[in-house]
């Protein structure tokens, strides 16, 4: 028990059955009490809550005016922790005044919380629009803010993390205005760079406390690769079907089991599989009856969720099928077995989800069932990747211009900027001058004041709306035809909403929709063919009906990428025939036409246009280019398929390395990218924009006319969140991992697990990609 914890709190701990702290808890508490900013990195269920509750409550016991602010990524987590905190406060009998502050807080509670609340539990979004812009109402809090707790730190990455970093910059400005300098305590799941992430988020040096002192039960990790069912195409049995065999067996054996699916749809499907699997063999009184299997995902009502959580804790729910909604620290107790259907996308998530299984006194089983995609297959063939590799980096870019500009406005609104003042680490003088030109701020007396009639925080949403899905509706099963069918009362109602009888076949994300459910596409779903009558792009609905034809459709996405500015590079690497660079690019994508391809023979039997709007994205990208002089002779005619195949491989390998979803990163392979990434002629202008399509004659001697094969990987968020810069640094590791993936895949000519979709892949692609990588890494081909 570290010194500095008041006796009353120690007594409260003992009343709750805690006599001593684990080493990591003691270290964290001591550091926080000493005023150091702390980040605690622990696996699930290691008692991280005490790491922050103890210093906070000690501070309040010592000084009743002291205040603390807790930030959780979701409202549900704040609720969960409120109970925990209250229980400890009651045990210590200290008259703790605390409540959650979010959209659900009643007005009367809000007022007293502002005046007298010791600990405020809220989320970054509420802090952003509800607290900071009205900070004068929170004088009591900000004048005496002693601790700021940031739980689930690892969730603040990417765009969301970049926003939150700016919200924290604003918080710190306001604290400084009121003369308080809070100590930050952050808790994170295991990621590769917790201290770096915390320091970027806070802009402050932090002490990192890693390694749990809590006892770990013995556990067995199984990586399960389903058997190959179609060798030539490299197709394996579906992971969901494997889970259907495995999970009911576990439940029948008496093991409380958590099954993680990747999507909400998959969770529902798995739930049905599992229940039907248990139905035949159990009676009503059996603990493993179908009703003891529950689903859990976003979209369930809060009360329903609480009931499931309680059922898991008391053991009446024997199995839960969940999305990553149960990955965060919601208290459900520990399970006996965890089954992951498909690789969750990151090592950190994998361990968070697997970590749900493991009781102190019993061995646990943790199973990862691999899917047939490239990521999954890489993990299945390289279990050491999971076991030995440090988990991923969490990246943020608080200085993303778009994010920064939004929060800078909110910050000026809250408090004027003094000339020369930095916003976190960002130099903002020029941006403020721009805002003045826009009539938003006004410079007077050495300060920048907000002067517009607007509330800038409301214009910024911390969580960029996840691309909404297109719903696929089968019109053959009922009303809901796109335009005034026989039963439809009007075209409007038919197009706007699926009729009662219409069946929703599935969903598809906004980026894939133009390729798979455009007008007249053949959409494949669980082996059935559907003809797309109409894609209603405005309403995000696709209307289909089942058909039986002997072809499928393949759409071509025309992606155009233009380099606007080169930040670093192009830089030739000493040992290899490749150049790396990163910079700012414009990506425009349009699905322009589709082909009808006959099954088995793969001959093109027709084609048609697709009329959908083009999308433009300004972002950052990393690219590597193969100078033609070196690659062309090696490759010959296989160059084009090789570049495409390698683009596919690199994209997936990059997702593995960056802890991002495949949709966060786009790949554009170009066979003749005109001089992109090649050394620029000295006279092309110093800092000016790099003009793509520059004269071939300006190319340095030795370069072939017409450019070089180049693979671009771009950040799929406007402005980028720092993925490209990181890829630039990881360049060599990326190529090495790509070489491994290609080398290890046993398929002869390429399969979904390595170079991408089977259809249309040139038989020479895999080999060509391998040769390109060999060029790039300087390694010999095996």
């Amino acid at each position: 028990m570290p010194a500095g914890i008041p006796r009353r709190l120690q007594a409260g701990l003992q009343r709750r059955g805690i006599r001593a702290l684990y080493t990591h808890q003691a270290e964290a508490v001591a550091a926080a009490l000493a005023g150091e900013h702390v980040v605690v990195v622990t696996p699930t269920a290691s008692g991280k809550t005490l790491c922050y509750n103890l210093p906070v409550l000690s501070g309040i016991l010592a000084d009743d005016t002291a205040r603390a602010l807790y930030l959780f990524p979701t409202k549900a987590l704040a609720q969960d922790q409120l109970h925990e905190l209250r229980a400890l406060g009651d045990a210590a009998d200290m008259g703790l005044r605390t409540h959650t502050y979010d959209g659900d807080t009643p007005p009367a509670v809000r007022a007293s919380l502002r005046e007298a609340g010791h600990v405020i539990l809220t989320n970054p979004d509420m802090l952003h629009t509800g607290v900071l812009p009205h900070h004068t109402r929170w004088v009591r809090l900000f004048e005496a803010l002693r601790y700021v707790v940031i739980d689930e730190l690892h969730t603040y990455r990417g765009v969301f993390g970049s926003h939150v970093a700016n919200v924290l910059r604003r918080l710190q400005r306001i604290c400084a205005f009121y003369g308080s300098h809070p100590t930050f305590i952050a808790c994170s799941a295991t990621i590769a760079n917790p201290a770096e992430l915390a320091e970027r988020l806070l802009g402050l040096p932090v002490t990192c406390i890693a390694g749990s002192g809590a006892p770990t039960p013995p556990k067995r990790v199984v990586v399960w690769n389903p058997p190959v069912v179609e060798a030539s195409l490299g197709i394996r049995r579906s992971a969901a079907l494997e889970a259907r065999t495995l999970a009911p067996a576990l439940v029948r054996a008496g093991a409380q089991t958590i099954v993680f699916g990747r999507t909400r749809l998959q969770v529902e499907v798995l739930l049905r599989y599992l229940r039907s699997g248990l139905e035949d063999q159990t009676g009503p009184g059996d603990p493993a009856r179908p009703s003891a299997v529950r689903g859990y995902r976003g979209g369930y009502l809060p009360l329903e969720r609480r009931a499931i959580e309680a059922g898991l804790r008391d053991g009446s729910v024997r199995c839960v099928v969940a999305t990553n909604a149960l990955e965060l620290g919601i208290d459900i107790g520990q399970m006996d077995a965890a089954v992951l259907v498909g690789y969750p996308g990151t090592i950190a998530s994998t361990w968070q989800q697997l970590g749900r299984a493991g009781r102190r006194d019993r061995p646990a089983l943790q199973v990862l069932i691999a899917g047939s995609g490239a990521l999954d297959q890489y993990v299945a063939r390289h279990p050491e990747f999971l076991l030995d590799q440090p988990p991923e980096q969490a990246l943020i870019n608080p200085d993303n211009l778009l994010v920064l500009a939004g929060h800078l406005q909110a910050a000026v609104f809250e408090l004027p900027f003094v000339d020369g003042e930095r916003f976190g680490t960002a130099e903002v003088g020029e941006l403020l001058a721009l805002l003045q030109e826009e009539g938003l701020v006004h410079h007077a007396g050495g300060r920048w004041h907000w002067s517009a009639d607007a509330f800038p925080a409301e214009a910024v949403s911390l969580r960029t709306v996840t691309a909404s899905n297109v719903v696929i509706i089968d019109t053959s099963t009922g009303p809901g035809r796109p335009s005034g069918g026989p039963q439809g009362p009007s075209a409007g109602s038919g197009g706007g909403r699926a009729g009662a009888g219409a069946r929703i076949v599935g969903e598809i994300d906004e980026w894939a929709a133009p390729l798979t459910v455009h007008d007249d596409a053949i959409y494949l779903h669980q082996g059935r063919q559907y003809h797309v009558e109409r894609l209603d792009w405005e309403e995000h609905r696709a209307y289909v009906h089942p058909v039986a034809v002997d072809y499928f459709t393949e759409a071509e996405l025309r992606v155009n990428l233009q380099v606007l500015e080169c930040f670093d590079g192009p830089e030739p690497l000493p040992t290899a025939q490749v150049l790396r660079a990163h910079g700012e690019v414009r990506v425009s994508a349009v699905a322009a036409m589709y082909r009808k391809v006959r099954f088995l023979t793969h001959e093109t039997i027709g084609s048609g246009p697709i009329a959908l709007p083009e999308r433009d994205l300004h972002t950052t990208a990393y690219w590597c280019a193969f100078p033609l002089g070196a690659s062309a002779p090696v490759m010959g005619r296989a160059l084009e398929p090789g570049v495409h195949a390698l683009g596919h491989v690199l994209r997936h390998v990059a997702c593995l390395a960056l802890m991002c979803e495949p949709r966060d990163l786009g790949a554009v392979p170009q066979v003749r990218a005109a001089l992109h990434g090649l050394p620029r002629p000295a006279d092309a202008g110093a800092a000016g924009e790099y003009v793509p399509g520059a004269r071939p004659s300006a190319a340095p001697a030795g370069q072939a006319v017409g450019g070089a094969p180049t693979i671009f990987l771009y950040d799929a968020h406007p402005g980028g969140v720092g993925l490209a810069g990181r890829l630039f640094l990881l360049h060599s590791q990326l190529l090495a991992a790509a070489a491994d993936l290609l080398g290890d895949c046993p398929c002869p000519h390429g399969c979904p697990a390595c170079v991408g979709p089977v259809a249309g892949v040139d038989p020479g692609a895999k080999d060509a990609a391998r040769r390109l990588v060999a060029l790039a890494t300087g390694r010999r081909q095996p």
Partner: protein, 463 residues
């Protein structure tokens, strides 16, 4: 210097593509563009009518025409605001107060830049408050010469609020005063926040006259109720833009229309104050105003005045206010124990509108106060014949109970069945009503009673 940055932000979608720094051009073109530092000269301030009365505080004094009535009584202000502190003896002037701001969003980034005050003097020995000695309103305006030099104006405002006998605003409770309070926190002006009695006219205006106003803004209320007319006035939403123009060019002359807008607001505020005061002091403007006035009095606990207003409304107000007023008046009388008067009203309500609530209250009155069971039963039967929805089952139950009570009191031995035992069909008739009542309901709906579970004969014979 900002061109490249602007371009990048536009490409990312963070700025509208059309935006090209319009403000920069405007600022340069505006007359008397601010050259270097220093701000407007004393001469240009004087031209706009401002003097620096104390360091950093620019004041402009002007008279505004306003037709005031008799001096305002402290009790009237207490009644209008619902704050009894108005009626307590105290020192100081009452101020009409209205600010102009850089925006309507609220929060920490919205700055009040023009503080308009109009003084009401008094109370002269036992009288009430009145506008200045001459006709019209003495208006005082404080202008913030530059963002960031707020301290003098905030200190002065806090001092004035602290010394005030009370303040009168329109929507000041949620807008003007919280904004000023926010500025004191931001300027780190310490000390307790003064809390003088505050009459926010928005609330009584809304309660008394919502039925006549399509929008409850000061200008609408004043135009409809007092009959004021604003000439070529600056629309309120243009005020922030005018101040921004002033900040850029530094010429106080561009604020002319803002200053007169604020004066007009204060004059309307004063006019509305006198109108509301005379309204609640007893004048009933139009027939439809009587009912909300009665409700206002009732909420403030002025029972006699409320009864009077409701009484007027019963006679004069257009439907459905007359009927609503009757119900309110009768309920109020009943609470007062004036049951005769209440019963008279219920009777009127029943006869004129066949009001169900009135019929029920009257039946209760006849049964328990008048001890006249037969009339109570007759009334309930009549009401049941006209009732629908929940009222029907309420009256059906009442009829059944009264019938049993009557039969017991008239001939206890003649009653066939044991009256204490629930009728056999009580369990399946809606709400346990009597068979007669149920039949009555059926007949009224034009359908024959359905056979009960035991057939018609047995049940009919039972009674």
């Amino acid at each position: 210097m900002t061109t490249a940055l602007r371009q990048r932000l536009q490409q990312l979608g963070g700025l509208p593509a059309a935006s090209g720094g319009v403000d920069r051009a405007m600022a340069a073109d505006a007359p008397g563009a601010r050259s270097g530092r220093g701000g407007p000269s004393a001469r240009s301030w004087a031209a706009a009518g401002f003097r620096e009365e104390t360091p950093g505080l620019l004041v402009r004094r002007v008279r505004a025409p306003m037709a005031a009535g008799a001096p305002l009584l402290a009790s009237t202000l207490a009644l209008l605001s619902g704050d009894p502190r108005w009626a307590e003896p105290g020192e100081g002037a009452v101020w009409l107060f209205d600010v102009e701001t850089t925006g309507l969003a609220g929060g920490t980034g919205t700055v009040p830049f023009l503080y308009g005050w109009a003084r009401l003097d008094g109370p002269p020995s036992g009288g009430g408050w009145a506008a200045g000695p001459e006709a019209g309103l003495e208006v005082e305006q404080w202008l913030l010469p530059e963002l960031g030099s707020e301290e003098p104006i905030i200190r002065a405002a806090v001092a004035r609020l602290r010394g005030a006998r009370g303040i009168v605003t329109y929507n000041g409770r949620t807008f003007d005063l919280p904004l000023v309070r926010t500025r004191t926190v931001l300027a780190r002006v310490s000390g307790l926040w003064p809390d003088p009695p505050h009459l926010d006219l928005l609330h009584p205006t809304r309660r008394l006259f919502r039925h006549r106003l399509d929008r409850c803004t000061l200008t609408t209320a004043s135009a409809v109720l007092v009959g004021t007319r604003r000439g070529a006035d600056l629309p309120g939403w243009e005020v922030p833009e005018r101040y921004r123009t002033f900040l850029r060019c530094g010429d106080p002359a561009v604020l002319g229309s803002v200053l007169s807008h604020n004066v007009a607001d204060l004059a309307e505020l004063g006019g509305l104050l006198w109108h509301l005061a005379s309204h609640v002091e007893g004048g009933i403007g139009e027939p439809q105003d009587a009912y909300p006035l009665g409700r206002f009095y009732e909420a403030r606990g002025c029972t006699e005045a409320a009864l009077r207003s409701y009484g007027t409304a019963v006679v004069l107000a257009p439907p459905p206010l007359d009927r609503a007023a009757l119900g309110r008046r009768a309920r109020l009388l009943r609470r007062q124990g004036r049951l005769d008067e209440a019963a008279t009203l219920w009777e009127l309500g029943w006869r004129r509108w066949e009001d169900m609530e009135a019929a029920e209250a009257l039946a209760i009155d006849r049964e328990w106060r008048g001890r006249d069971l037969e009339e109570a039963l007759a009334l309930s039967r009549a009401a049941l014949a006209r009732a629908s929805g929940p009222w029907a089952s309420r009256f059906a139950r009442r009829v059944w109970r009264l019938e049993r009570r009557l039969s017991r009191s008239q001939a206890p031995e003649a009653a066939g069945a044991d009256p204490g035992r629930p009728a056999p069909w009580a369990s399946w008739l809606p709400g346990g009503v009597s068979y007669e009542a149920w039949q009555l309901l059926r007949q009224r709906r034009g359908s024959r009673p359905r056979a009960g579970p035991w057939g018609m004969g047995t049940t009919a014979a039972g009674t």
